[in-house]
């Protein structure tokens, strides 16, 4: 991961600031940076979103392709995650340099989506055992300025919200052979309900306190952090400790509580932004990377 070199004095400055609930950029410990969300930025995908959180810049494209359901789940479609840490973010990711981080993030995404409530997978089934929709969720890391996991989750949620899957019908003739018919109307499509899609809140332990949405500098001061994936109702679906340091159990519970509180607010504001953008309809001026 892109890293910054901090001197001892700089670290002390950040740690003391966090203790006083005042961070280098003026935020409190539970404040996020300004988040920019835009959906439908890549027109040849089923759904896409770009999220910018401080200097962290993520583009997610969702492509729906037809495939066969998995043997153990014959009447469900499934999601595939792929994270590309492009060299754009940092030269260290050139060639195969970003593969490890990419796999780590993709595995985390698999884990937080690995429960029945997050996405209605049965709606992705076309005909049991034979055809289903596979949603390829491809995450592209364009710039990293700290707090990758949260940003990626916001972007994935926004892209899934934006995803439109064409409606298909299965026609069966007398001999029992099946035929798949695609709807003629391009606006006739199914949408996924993303109300229960969780978002990750990363809590970084700095000194005796913890902060959300840490910048690169703050991440350099922190020894360990906790990823908590929270749904909009405040239910924790997954938790993971990352980093080289250790955490004591009491602080983990404190961090979980903060995670739930912050997660609920995050979900509420993301929903309102997405619905607001949706209500503008096709008249919306697309900004993309030109703005």
């Amino acid at each position: 991961m892109a890293s910054v070199a901090l001197s001892e004095a700089e670290k002390v400055y950040i740690v003391h600031g966090v203790q006083e609930d005042l961070r280098v950029d003026g935020r409190g410990c539970e404040d996020y940076r300004y988040v920019e969300v835009e959906t439908d930025v890549v027109s040849n995908t089923s759904g896409s979103a770009r999220v910018k959180l401080g200097h962290t810049d993520i583009l997610v494209g969702v492509k729906a392709e037809m495939g066969t359901p998995k043997l153990e789940k014959p009447n469900e479609g499934y999601l595939e995650f792929f994270v590309d840490c492009s060299a754009n973010a940092t030269p260290e990711f050139e060639g195969r340099g970003g593969d490890d981080l990419g796999t780590e993030i993709a595995n985390t995404l698999y884990r937080i989506f690995n429960n029945k409530s997050s996405v209605d997978l049965q709606s992705l089934c076309i005909s049991p055992r034979e055809h289903c929709w596979i949603l390829y969720v491809d995450v592209l890391l364009l710039e990293c300025g700290g707090n990758l996991f949260d940003t990626i989750c916001i972007a994935v949620k926004a892209a899934l919200f934006n995803t439109r899957i064409p409606r298909v019908r299965v026609l069966e003739d007398e001999e029992g052979s099946k035929d798949i018919e695609l709807s003629d109307d391009p606006y006739d499509c199914i949408r996924l309900s993303v109300d229960n899609v969780p978002c990750i809140v990363t809590l970084c332990k700095i000194g005796y306190r913890h902060v959300v949405d840490a910048t690169l500098q703050e991440e350099a001061c922190s020894l360990a952090s906790l990823l908590v994936s929270v749904t909009s109702t405040g239910v924790v679906t997954c938790m993971r400790k990352v980093g080289k340091g250790s955490l004591d159990p009491e602080s983990i519970f404190e961090m979980m509580e903060t995670g739930k509180r912050v997660g609920k607010v995050l979900h509420a504001s993301l929903q309102s932004v997405l619905h607001k953008e949706e209500s503008l309809g096709p008249k919306r001026q697309k900004v993309g990377f030109l703005g």
């Binding site: 890549v42 995908t45 969702v62 492009s86 060639g95």
Partner: protein, 245 residues
């Protein structure tokens, strides 16, 4: 041409352009703050991002350092969702490696590499959406990014593709026109001197027609130059206002 009519009798192409007309180009410099230089370009539906790091010390093996000039290192990757059918790998496949080499060749011709001996310049391009002319879009984006990084260049490098249908040369091919399988020419031009930094043609074309196609591509590349020049001037104007000069 079987199936699709690429050029109508009235002289219009599938997307309604004239033979020598470019698609709409929109560009922006300084997209990212962490990189030394960055730029984004849209040519019709083709969208590309370019990022430049350097000149900096050689990364990795010192043996790669060149005693008399800077090493230009290019990586081309195209997002897995950029094409109509999903790609499995963003980079590392044969086409991406070839594109990387072509970009490197193009920019070695344009950057004044002898000013930075024993150092390295990284150019990374990323195609976000591919709709024909990806090489051209990448070169144009990379030119803006190199300019944004303040690396001295001989000239702008402006690229454009051209094809040949019904005895007419078509500039700036879209994906539909590329997929039809006619001859294709990619040209990178240094517009001030008229020198060619890269020229590549695939499929066969009669020698007599080559000049016509080349001329069409060069004219389109000069048009691209006019547009890029405008973007650079606009960017510099905005930057100098922000700096308070």
């Amino acid at each position: 041409m079987a199936g699709l009519e690429l050029l109508s009798d009235q002289g219009y192409r599938v997307d309604g352009r004239r033979a020598g007309e470019l698609r709409k180009i929109q560009a922006r410099m300084g997209v990212f703050a962490q990189a030394d230089g960055s730029a984004y370009i849209e040519q019709g539906n083709t969208k590309a991002l370019a990022v430049v790091y350097g000149p900096h010390e050689i990364r990795g093996s010192r043996a790669r350092a060149l005693p008399d000039r800077a090493l230009v290192n290019c990586q081309y990757s195209s997002a897995t969702f950029s094409t109509g059918e999903r790609k499995r790998r963003p980079h590392g496949d044969r086409k991406s490696c070839e594109m990387g080499l072509q970009l490197r060749q193009t920019f070695e011709a344009a950057i004044l590499t002898q000013l930075h001996p024993r150092s390295q310049i990284d150019i990374y391009v990323q195609v976000l959406q591919a709709d024909g002319g990806t090489y051209a879009a990448c070169v144009n984006a990379a030119t803006l990014a190199v300019l944004d990084a303040g690396i001295p260049m001989r000239d702008f490098v402006c690229a454009c593709s051209a094809g040949f249908v019904d005895n007419t040369a078509l500039a700036d091919l879209s994906h539909v026109e590329e997929a039809a399988g006619g001859p294709q020419l990619a040209l990178a031009l240094l517009p001030a001197s008229g020198q060619i930094a890269l020229l590549e043609m695939d499929a066969r074309l009669h020698e007599d027609h080559l000049e016509q196609v080349l001329e069409a591509a060069a004219r389109a590349a000069r048009d691209v130059h006019t547009l890029l020049d405008r973007v650079v001037r606009q960017h510099v104007r905005e930057a100098s206002i922000l700096l308070g000069d």
